[in-house]
Structure formats: structure tokens, C-alpha cells
């Protein structure tokens, strides 16, 4: 047998991390003076407060060593987590004490042989929507009731092969899904694709995003900022992207870049606005983001040092606050994970997923101080 893919993971991951510590992909407008740029850079470096862990809740009977994106919570204070341990696969819905309330399992639909279930989102009312990949080229979305009961399977009807990577559900019922479309040349880099779908999975409109061709070309040329050293089809800008609904009824889609690129997309598929959020230093990447009412919190992680920076912006991208980790003698007082799970305002409050030394799942409540 010919081994098509052989890899030395640790080395490749380290190389990848080194590579992404390069310059930003989105240059400043040429009209900005050097003095303004310097002032802007200084402003990025000055945090408004430090992130301090104020409470730790250990879940009973839930274990984790890795956390799989996305990380979700709902208005009822519940958390949704897909982890790698515990013996029960699926998305676990946990209350604030870590007690399991529901389990969302793709295998609960016996009609399809499932390869993978991945990205999910929770709509108002508690229904959970999950991207599901059966052992066929057709891509699906499974819908579950709030109690975890399987409700329906929706087939994405694009007419061409693609792989959805992220999903949002508009209050009006339409879906936004973004991912990668196969090139006619199987060996070539794939094309970013974003579409608005009806609730039955029919494609209503293809959404053209301004940076997609550039992101495709970066991956095609092997640019280490987005390309994987081990998988020619990977485009980290897409694979690590996220999307959430805003209070204005638009979906906020983020590309994993530095600066982070955001698009506000209406239910009709119009790109209402594009903006970027700059962490101020080239080594950071947007690890997770959450939209709460008219605010967006973006957690940036420095790939080498694992330093973290939280940026709060409004829905137009205007920066409102920057928080970093409190450090004592150069070391973070409260080591946070990149599993940024929840964001609320009034007061500003964050929750991270973590684990204790026995791999018991924990909720780390964090506030700026």
C-alpha cells in the first residue's frame, strides 16, 4: 500500500505555528500616516484591564483534554461542548453547574452512516443545528430539539461538491453556511464558498466575500499563514473561521486572519459591511469569538507564547476595550485556554472551558479587573 499521507505532527504543527507569526495580511490603508499608525499600534498594546479568573466550576462526570470548536452557551446559562473524553460522543448540553441536560448525537438518526459531525449552532428556543458528513458526497445539517431529540435532516442542495465548515441560522429561518468548494482539479486548493440556504437546504444565493479569492490564492501558493504543511486542501482562514448571529439580524462571519476579517451578512445574502479587528501584533490569531447583543468579543492567541488578548468591538468593528492576562514575573497568573466559551455584558463576563489535573471539565469564569 502506498501511504499517501505521512506526517510528523509535532514538527509540522511547530513549523505551522512559526510560520503564522508573520506579518498581517490586511495592510493599513495608505492614507494613514505613520504617526497615526504608531499611535494606533500603541493603543493596541495598552490593555484596559486584565483577565482574572473569578470562579471555577467543576462538572461532575464530564471529562475533557481537548475542546472542539465551536464553543457555545445560551441565554439560560447553559453550555454546549464537544470534547474528546467521557465515553459519550456528541454535543453535551450542560447547565451552569456542569450537570448534563441533553446530548445531541448524530448517530441518533439511523438512516445515514455518519463519518463526522462537527460545527453546530444553537438557535433561539434551544434547537441545535449541526453540520453532519455522512459517507457520501452530500452534506447535511441535522436539527435537534432542545432536549437532544433528533428532529430532521436537511440536505444542502448546492449542485456541486463542497464541504461546509460553519453555520448560522437567521431568526427568519434561512441558513448561512460557509466552507470550501472542490476545484475541478481534485489536487488543487479548494475555493471558499458561502451561501444562503432555505430551511429545506435549497441554495438561495451565493455570497461573494471580498477576500475569498485572495485567501484561496494564499492557500494555493502554500502561504504558511493559511496553508497546512500536511494537507494541501486545508485553508486555515476558512477551517478556523467562525460565525455567529448579531442582535441586528445579521450573521457575523470571521475569517481566521491577522487582523481578523469580519463580514456582516444579511438574511438575504447581502454583505452589509466588512471590517477587521487588529490584535496589534503579528503573531496573534483569532482563536474564538462570540457576539453578545451589539458587541463582539474576539480572543486572540499568540501562537508561540500562548499569550492571550481579548478585544471587544461593536458590530461595526469599532474597538471598545482590550484585555490581556494578568502576569506576575512574566507569567500569566491565571492561565486561560483558547476554549473561549461564552461572553456576556453588564457586567463584562467571560467563560472558558478548562480541566483540572484529573481531566474533569471545568468552567472558568473570567472578568476584567
Amino acid at each position: 500500500m502506498l501511504a499517501l499521507k505521512r506526517r510528523c505532527i509535532t514538527v509540522c504543527w511547530a513549523l505551522s505555528a512559526l510560520a503564522v507569526a508573520q506579518s498581517a495580511a490586511d495592510p493599513k490603508p495608505s492614507s494613514t500616516t505613520k504617526a497615526e499608525q504608531k499611535a494606533e499600534a500603541e493603543r493596541h498594546k495598552t490593555p484596559d484591564a486584565h483577565l482574572v479568573r473569578v470562579q471555577t466550576v467543576t462538572a461532575v462526570g464530564e471529562f475533557a483534554t481537548s475542546f472542539f470548536r465551536p464553543f457555545r452557551c445560551d441565554d439560560g446559562g447553559n453550555f454546549y461542548v464537544r470534547t474528546d473524553l467521557g465515553g459519550v460522543e456528541g454535543v453535551h448540553k450542560l447547565n451552569s453547574k456542569g450537570e448534563r441536560l441533553a446530548l445531541f448525537e448524530a448517530s441518533s438518526n439511523p438512516d445515514l452512516k455518519i463519518d463526522v459531525a462537527a460545527y453546530f449552532t444553537v438557535a433561539e428556543g434551544g434547537e441545535l443545528y449541526e453540520l453532519v458528513y455522512p459517507h457520501e458526497m452530500t452534506r447535511y445539517m441535522f436539527v435537534y430539539k432542545a432536549d437532544g431529540t433528533f428532529k430532521s435532516a436537511v440536505k444542502f442542495q448546492t449542485g456541486f461538491p463542497w464541504i461546509p465548515k460553519m453555520l448560522a441560522v437567521f431568526p427568519t429561518g434561512q441558513l448561512l453556511a460557509s466552507g470550501e468548494e472542490y476545484d475541478a482539479d481534485r489536487a488543487a486548493a479548494r475555493w471558499p464558498f458561502t451561501g444562503i440556504f432555505a430551511a429545506d437546504g435549497s441554495l438561495l444565493k451565493e455570497v461573494k466575500l471580498e477576500d475569498d479569492e485572495k485567501l484561496h490564492d494564499m492557500a494555493a501558493s502554500g502561504d504558511p499563514r493559511v496553508a497546512s504543511p500536511t494537507n494541501v486542501h486545508s485553508n486555515h482562514a476558512i477551517d478556523n473561521g467562525l460565525v455567529e448571529m448579531g442582535s441586528d439580524g445579521n450573521a457575523y462571519l470571521m475569517r481566521w486572519m491577522n487582523p481578523a476579517i469580519f463580514y456582516a451578512i444579511s438574511p438575504g445574502g447581502e454583505v452589509v459591511r466588512r471590517f477587521t479587528v487588529d490584535p496589534g501584533e503579528s503573531g496573534y490569531r483569532p482563536s474564538a469569538m462570540h457576539v453578545n447583543k451589539n458587541r463582539i468579543a474576539i480572543l486572540f492567541v499568540e501562537m508561540q507564547s500562548r499569550n492571550k488578548l481579548m478585544k471587544i468591538v461593536d458590530l461595526e468593528g469599532h474597538e471598545l476595550a482590550t484585555y490581556d492576562e494578568l502576569k506576575i514575573n512574566g507569567k500569566a497568573k491565571d492561565v486561560l485556554t483558547a476554549a473561549f466559551a461564552c461572553y456576556t455584558e453588564n457586567p463584562t463576563h467571560f467563560v472558558f472551558f478548562g480541566a483540572d489535573d484529573d481531566n474533569k471539565l471545568q468552567f472558568w469564569h473570567v472578568e476584567p479587573r
Binding site: 499521507k5 458528513y133 472542490y182 475541478a184 486555515h236 486561560l336
Partner: protein, 166 residues
């Protein structure tokens, strides 16, 4: 998402992988990158690793979901390997891909990152209507659908384009 419950001794793991590998049948398969996953470990360890999974894909072969392994904060994680195989047809559904028509006339290089909007008064391939608005004739391309051996007509959508100015 499929995951491993616990670490197993290396020799046992290798033996299991060999048995699994030999026992599985060739199918249309592939590997997909699902982004990175944060991990934690004892002593405040915090890191990330890439998540890759066996998918239905365009390669006829066997996908071993435990093909390789790595370590993240002391915990082993696995990534798949694909081994070429035979007997699963042409895995031809991937052949139904669209042919892409670039919406800009820039080259494929990363260095060509100047947005079209910034190229004032110079718009190759466009018919200038005003200083800031150009027209491009729609481009029609027939694409072969390898599954049903038919051709599909794909037409470019945008006909007018703002090319610069205020």
C-alpha cells in the same frame, strides 16, 4: 466527532492499527481539516492541535483514522492517513465541481493583492462606462458534468463594476 478514549500502549496500538488497516475495504475517501482544537493538561499546560478526520472523498483507498499520532499537553491525539486502494469506481462525484471564473483579473500570486477598487482609471478587460464604472461582457463557460456526461452552462453574474474614484 470520533475520538479516542484513552492512551494505549504503543505496541498494542500498532497491532490494532495493522489489523484495522488490513480489514477495512477501499472506498471513496479523503481527509478533512476541521480547524484546531485547544487542549489542556496537568500543571496548567495549554496548547492546540489540528483536527483532521476521515471523510467521504475523491480518493479510492482506505482511511485509517489512527494513522499517525501526536501529543498535546501530554495527551495523545490521532490524525488519519489514507492508503491508496482499488475497486471503488472512479469516486467521480468530485468531478462535478464547478469551473471557477475569477471575479478579478489579477494573477494567482499572493503578491497581487491590490483590490480592484484601487486601480483607478485602469481596468484591463473592462469597457469603461464612466471614470468609476466599467462594464465587462458576461463570460459563458460550458462545464462537463462527468457523472451524467452533460454540459452545464455557467455565466458570470456581475456585469458592471465600480473601478475606482469616489
Amino acid at each position: 466527532m470520533t475520538r479516542t478514549r484513552s492512551m494505549v500502549p504503543l505496541f498494542l496500538g500498532l497491532a490494532m492499527l495493522f489489523v484495522t488497516h488490513r480489514a477495512s475495504a477501499a472506498t471513496c475517501t479523503g481527509i478533512e481539516d476541521l480547524g484546531s482544537s485547544p487542549c489542556t493538561g496537568a500543571g496548567g499546560c495549554e496548547s492546540e492541535h489540528e483536527v483532521e478526520m476521515c471523510f467521504f472523498g475523491c480518493t479510492c483507498g482506505e482511511c485509517d483514522r489512527h494513522g499517525s499520532s501526536g501529543e498535546c499537553c501530554g495527551h495523545i491525539y490521532y490524525v488519519p492517513n489514507v492508503y491508496q486502494g482499488q475497486g471503488c469506481g472512479n469516486c467521480g462525484e468530485c468531478g462535478g465541481a464547478r469551473t471557477h471564473i475569477r471575479s478579478t483579473s489579477i494573477g494567482r500570486g499572493v503578491a497581487s493583492d491590490t483590490p480592484l477598487e484601487l486601480r483607478q482609471d485602469y481596468s484591463p478587460g473592462l469597457i469603461v462606462l464612466t471614470r468609476t464604472l466599467s462594464y465587462r461582457e458576461p463570460l459563458f463557460v460550458y462545464v462537463l458534468n462527468r457523472c451524467d456526461h452533460t454540459y452545464r452552462l455557467i455565466a458570470e453574474e456581475e456585469l458592471t463594476r465600480k473601478t475606482g474614484g469616489m
